[in-house]
Symmetry: C2
Subunit: 212 residues, 2 copies
Amino acid sequence: MGDLTGQVADPAPGREREPKQDRSRATRLRVLEAAVACLAEHGWSGSTVAVVCARAGVSRGAAQHHFPTREELFTAAIAHVADQWLTAVRERALALPREGPDRTYAVVDMLVAVHTGPLFRAALHLWTATTAEERLRPGVTALEARIGREAHRLAVDFLGADESRPGVRETVQATLDMARGLGLANLLSDDSARRARIVRQWAAMLEQALHG
Amino acid sequence: MGDLTGQVADPAPGREREPKQDRSRATRLRVLEAAVACLAEHGWSGSTVAVVCARAGVSRGAAQHHFPTREELFTAAIAHVADQWLTAVRERALALPREGPDRTYAVVDMLVAVHTGPLFRAALHLWTATTAEERLRPGVTALEARIGREAHRLAVDFLGADESRPGVRETVQATLDMARGLGLANLLSDDSARRARIVRQWAAMLEQALHG
């Protein structure tokens, strides 16, 4: 979980006029990060609020102050990490090749890489748990729709895709669906060699479809 | 679960010289079908052996005679339904258009349809549970690899894909990965309208890549 737990945003050291708010904010972040790490490692049934609190090193009362229910805690945790991810991807995208087949390859590679990490794994546990837990459904369905929309918008932007051309919108969507499928294929075993060949081939087809 | 529970293969009525074996075989099938149905509906944590036995209408002793552990029961259940599915797909494929873009579209549509049904949903619960349950890992990893290999072989065959041409193997694999991703996208909400457009676009690109 290094790449997630390493992202805990400690409160800025200079903000001494709001020490209580800073502490509260730091606690909230610790709980969120711990929740995602638990979910990725132990799945939904192994991720109770008690387990998350122990991992975060906070009291149950402190956690419940921020998140009254287990459902709110985990939905907020995925939302938080997804937002962090969207920010990180936007930053990383600045360093990609500016155009041409190299850019298309780099974008596909980046989109696929995200779906093989701990965020995808944690989200997958939450999505599958939701099919059997009605209380999770409203929050998680809305969250999934929002992440899907934002990922699509990013992909269109990064690929320089002109969605007014027939088939382009669906081709971009298919790229994200393929990335999700590659994430699933990586769940139980290291699929990286096969995945690298598929990314290369799909990037070539995508470049042709979008800019050929 | 209609399309799965409807597939229970009752013992052939003519085989009266082995009534005990028939009964035993029928019990085994009832338990397997109930296990998949439970998994698809309630997820791993809600699918205890007791819940499956109640649904199948068999005693716990009778179930344990066939499947000594919970892990063996669910791995066998997914294997059983996957085999049924492979047989059904081979039969259905006989009725597809023989060649050309219509065939490519029909094959992609069939492969994607399989990933949006209760078998995919049950398998997804088992795969995600496996990431957190070490005892499931050996059986489920081997099963996933076997299903993946057979699905790939079927897809190559149905699409008339020539894997000696560069990129063709990866393009077929990408099709199955996309199908898996579309299955995930359908987990929490009805994604059929979006999916139909993606299948059409993917089939057109695939036809071009394989036979263009």
